[in-house]
Symmetry: C3
Amino acid sequence: MTERADGFTLDEIVSRFGGELIGDGNLRISQVATLEKAGPADFSFLANPKYCKQLKTSRAGAVVLSSANAPDCPLPCIVSDNPYAYYARVAQLLNPSWREASGIHPKAVVETILDPSVSVGAGTCVGKDVRIGKASVIGPGCIIGEGVAMGEQARLYGNVTIYPGCLIGARAIIHSGAVIGADGFGIAREADGSWTKIPQIGRVIIGDDVEIGANTTIDRGALDDTMIEDGVKLDNQIQIGHNVRVGANTAMAGCVGVAGSARIGKRCTIGGGAIILGHLTVADDVNISAATLVTKSISQPGSYTGAMPFEAHRDWLRNAAQMRHLDEMAKRIRELETRLAQLEKKS
Amino acid sequence: MTERADGFTLDEIVSRFGGELIGDGNLRISQVATLEKAGPADFSFLANPKYCKQLKTSRAGAVVLSSANAPDCPLPCIVSDNPYAYYARVAQLLNPSWREASGIHPKAVVETILDPSVSVGAGTCVGKDVRIGKASVIGPGCIIGEGVAMGEQARLYGNVTIYPGCLIGARAIIHSGAVIGADGFGIAREADGSWTKIPQIGRVIIGDDVEIGANTTIDRGALDDTMIEDGVKLDNQIQIGHNVRVGANTAMAGCVGVAGSARIGKRCTIGGGAIILGHLTVADDVNISAATLVTKSISQPGSYTGAMPFEAHRDWLRNAAQMRHLDEMAKRIRELETRLAQLEKKS
Amino acid sequence: MTERADGFTLDEIVSRFGGELIGDGNLRISQVATLEKAGPADFSFLANPKYCKQLKTSRAGAVVLSSANAPDCPLPCIVSDNPYAYYARVAQLLNPSWREASGIHPKAVVETILDPSVSVGAGTCVGKDVRIGKASVIGPGCIIGEGVAMGEQARLYGNVTIYPGCLIGARAIIHSGAVIGADGFGIAREADGSWTKIPQIGRVIIGDDVEIGANTTIDRGALDDTMIEDGVKLDNQIQIGHNVRVGANTAMAGCVGVAGSARIGKRCTIGGGAIILGHLTVADDVNISAATLVTKSISQPGSYTGAMPFEAHRDWLRNAAQMRHLDEMAKRIRELETRLAQLEKKS
């Protein structure tokens, strides 16, 4: 907190994170802000050239930008190949994550022995045979099932539920309402139409440096495990089905659904509200657009989209009516082509 | 509760809420019901002329309807310009919201001083420097983070989570499982494909008279605040990204997703499952249909739709196959037009 | 647990569940596994002929399959008309659900008298006038509102919320974060654009043998009740609006949304992310594909789809541009047909 009050000089920042400084290295910054709202003690960034004009009017103390934009910058600046990532590191430096006092709250229920550096909030239940890495912080109202293991410096906000037996890596951040390890949707249909539940005996295994958003759910495997590899970032309200594997450093925006046994590659980005069907494979470095339904495997990197464009409702009514006639339209075009070719021959 | 047992006479209702009474003002009603199921002590409504026939067979004690339908009504009735809103007010009168005994449950953990009129349920954690307005009711199992401020007569059901620093207006209703103020999805990509988290230092600010549904999530701002203006109504399982602004009296149905920094106008209605992309602006008085993906700004009021019509699967297979050939179809039509014009010239 | 350690012989299994055994009835199995990963004490299944080749290389102790695949099977096997359901029953036998010690945790808050066979976890709040059937297990952190009634052998995982007055059948399984009985989205618009809340005075009534996934929400009825019939299976993150009726043995995959007052038939299957609009009726035995928007009633059994196919983004850009011109394309085709017919007459 004292760090934040005092801030850092630009020289100190460049010596930590690199980049070329143009301007006074003694200038001290204490917080980050947008170009529009920044004041003289704030550090800002220009990642999108579209906002280049704001450099002229910004009151920011300093800004990080690419070499292409440096000549336009009247402010002290740091030149970086990746201004947005540079900004992220400065923002982290100025906003260290808040540390609860360590120790177990007297109103927590802990049935295992924890390292004294671990913090457990009020009302949280930690089951038997749970291992939690050093300096981890478990918020209030969490439920950590029997046999869960968690790495160091993990951070669970309040009201997170981890079912028994799941493994969670180091430096995990899990937001409120997330549920890890509930039963997968495994049911077998009987002849009379009723369903028999299939016990879900796999686990969820989550790698290091994974962040999981509020109210996101990740189901345990049916027989094998559901795997979330290192560095995966999941936004809020995402549903990951049983036996799914999400490759390292893949990021998914809110409201995505991934059905059971899908395998998603590394470094993919999945837009908000996309649905990925089960038992298919998505290659590494694939970008799925928002609201796209992925119905079959994707073997090549690249961007894929399946969304319906929106328009004024009255126009949509007319156009949508034709969607049910596309096959017929295609036939009529073929027929026109045949008939026209015959006429052309004659003429 | 005694009010509810005794009910109110139609005269009493008209004197509170206005409207023109046709029939016996001494008739006493004690509950609301549909035209189909109402009995002689029930008050019903006719808002959709489609159900006009039910007036003939309904056993309701009284009904509110528009002047156009009054002549068809054999029952005592109140004529109103807005029968559905009138009905809502009568329903509220007959069903006052249930008041817990005020005071802090001995199994709550409260680290601040609260007004004696506030009620806090078992297991709820209220952090330091929290302010809660008079007569507010916080259910069991809630987590109210440090520095949260809440208006009067707010009602949080059980298992709600409010992250530190968020502001919530008067008369808020927040349902179970909602998470207010979790980190927005702010990550910057490094050259190796991994992600660096950007601290989310803004807040969520919620106006007065806002209702938030079960398991809805509203993320805190990255730098500035996420804003939900007065009178906004959010259904269940909605995701609101960081820095979004939702204008006053906008209503969203379940499962909507709004990506970061979108600005949505006042008095909009957003249908269930719609997705609104980030960094765009939607004007006031816009209606978005269910399951529509909004990919660009909307500057004019009106209704907008982008949904794909459904049909029998075998028909869909044939038509959907053509969707990947629409551009080719358009070219073939243009070519047909050119060739036909040439033939017509010749003939 | 001893059962699981010892396992069962194939003779014991066939005598419980029927089917024709081919091979040594004394062979003892103790767990289930996939054909690929099974060892000699594991029981596996072949439900999809696509995986028939795996029979040759599998190390499973035994496998259940259909009579068509039996001749190809080098392993001991059980022949069944429905191998997957047979497998489900064996998996249940080998994995009996885990029983908490019965009794009320000292850190639970229970305001009613419960049968001594009921288990209630730490931090759970059970309101007044609640009835819970024998041998039911309520996990930690749950909130069971006043007047709730629940059948025998129900299983609520941690952090489940049941609002007052809801009824839940026998053998219910409800996963963490589910919210049953929150207010439906009932609001009436006033002339100034603001909304008046309509009290939601119905209940949620859930039949026997229903499973409800993590973070799924089911709203209480506005006036009548929301009904989930026997044997319904709901995956995670589903939203069921007020007054909906879901017919017996219908199954819904994750992220489905069902708007208010929809009536869905028996034995339907609803794919992930589908949205069903309100006030419509879906017949029995209807299958809705993933991500399909159902905008009108369906009166005939069968499969229905409305999803937009995805493709490489650059192709999608070209094809999607034409979707806003479909009506115009249809007109141009009709015009071409007319002009061509005139030419043909002349020639």
